[in-house]
Symmetry: C2
Subunit: 387 residues, 2 copies
Amino acid sequence: MTESQSGGLSQPAVTLSTAQKTVQVALGARSYDILIGTGLIDGAGKAIAALGDGMRVAVITDETVARLHLDPLMAGLADAGIAAVSLVLPAGEKTKSFEALMQVVDHVLAARLERGDAVVALGGGVIGDLSGFAAGIVRRGMRFIQVPTSLLAQVDSSVGGKTGINTSHGKNLVGVFHQPDLVIADTKVLDTLSDREFRAGYAEVAKYGLIDRPDFFAWLEANWRGIFSGGPERAEAIAVSCRAKAEVVAADEREAGRRALLNLGHTFGHALEAATQYDGQRLVHGEGVAIGMVLAHEFSSHMNLASRDDAARVQRHLAEVGLPTRLGDIAGALPPTDVLLDHIAQDKKVRRGALTFILTHGIGQAFIADDVPGAEVHRFLEERRSP
Amino acid sequence: MTESQSGGLSQPAVTLSTAQKTVQVALGARSYDILIGTGLIDGAGKAIAALGDGMRVAVITDETVARLHLDPLMAGLADAGIAAVSLVLPAGEKTKSFEALMQVVDHVLAARLERGDAVVALGGGVIGDLSGFAAGIVRRGMRFIQVPTSLLAQVDSSVGGKTGINTSHGKNLVGVFHQPDLVIADTKVLDTLSDREFRAGYAEVAKYGLIDRPDFFAWLEANWRGIFSGGPERAEAIAVSCRAKAEVVAADEREAGRRALLNLGHTFGHALEAATQYDGQRLVHGEGVAIGMVLAHEFSSHMNLASRDDAARVQRHLAEVGLPTRLGDIAGALPPTDVLLDHIAQDKKVRRGALTFILTHGIGQAFIADDVPGAEVHRFLEERRSP
């Protein structure tokens, strides 16, 4: 496919093909491949076996995913001669807890897996973040394989090595950087997602366009229906997203600088998730990011950094695919703005008390803004809340 | 001081001086200093302040150490303008648990410390391993400072970045590699240790001689009394030990190869600790290592790899300083040999089911032995248990 890395090129951002795609995350000795294609779970055992002889694995998944995809994965592992155990956890964000982490760690140790063996995450972001954290701390680091089954996980959380759990102090405040050895993204399994879940993942796809790929964003505006309906656009959009993330991760594995751009929409989004007690009925992560991205563009316009038109265009596209884009789109009451700001300040992207946001000069022109005045954010949010 | 890195040199292994010593652990961007000297805790605040402006810290310690050393440390931090909170945990190996980890993490998050702030471990190996683990996972890695107050921690656990906790499956099976930013080893605080605890730490000092510094081992045989009584030999022995460990860590941070030599005596030792349920009344870590080192030398002799005389010399010296050196020196009954082997096989140094031991060709000539036959180890242990 055609690369679409620099913003203003006139050639098409994306060309279509139906073959399996491979995106490499270049991290020296820790480089790994992301395999993207239809029906890959059936052959996952073979792909995993290729990583090393005699490997054993512990598959971690949740109840929802287990019903749909665990049997074919386990069958493929058995066919490939890989000894495997599995652990099925409750579905949902509450599973990203210390308690579940202890359960996974205990399961892996009880199976006597060694450093060269692997933890396999079969599921969405919750299972991936939790299992990756466990793989990162058992024996101070075991092999780790991601088999993401949600769009969000395929384009975002399964790539880049961030792992973690939530605590009462906030989301993802505890974790490690632990890169996977392989990511297997089966685009066919996304057909089993609810519309709402698919849309939530799409917010992260759009994000890559908004950060630094304006052509990709324009392509998404024209082609999003094919992505949602499972046309060839789906694998292409996932590959472009993975490549976008892989580039940023390769340049800045530990989030010392540029990687922070991936947090576009996330500072507001995380605060909204915290403010709704991570209640997935009210708001899921990608929805928080969608609202957060609109807020980031509108706040940038409020600060005279970007045009109102770009903010409106972002809002329009995300609303068109069915994502929430306004604070008022969240069911139920939100806490006072002071409490929202408090959640923002606890967000781990804080540096020495100053508020750091990802702001933008327009679509595809995001940048890291340090020392954003809290009072301005407060005023801006108050405005957004009045009817 | 004179380096004593290669085995058979004829110059003295160690020369004495009373000044503060600095040993650097060379790890590129993550390099750090170990400060060694008398009364350093009083000035620790100043040394920590030198790491960066506006840093805040959470001091983690235990009840025993808090009574003796927390006040001067906190006073020094306050004098240096460093905002600090502290958490005092129960003393003892049981504190290396998931529950205590959660407590430390919660304490650090509740204080709203950021990535550039630091967790300070004031205590022995338990507090250091636990606090370092917490520092490694809060916000996916915060600054970490070790103020080790036991001999064991000063010469071993505070250097090298290994952190972790125990689980029902074994010791240190869960943790991360997380290097400290500074280690402050106050040799004066060791006067507050019990004889038993000091001796246990001494086992790790002797280990550096046994691995690859035969001159240092000979110097210890002649000078150990000065180390125990607090003479200038003490700081010298600690500096040689830290330098020995720093070299190995710099060459092999993640224990892919040579670093495994530091486990001399530890495979047997950990199995004995597990077999005695980590009951510090019966066996503390350094005592397990002492017995383990004697067993490693005797097993090497049993396998015709080393002379009986060297094994006897090791046993004689460790017994002379008052360390246990025989299985029979452990109070109470040990489980059957099969169970001991089981503990050995769960030890994390296992590779693909084969038993890996650190064996030796003689004093100062340790090496990594893969594929040690379990049946030989079983026979050897059975012999050692018969009266």
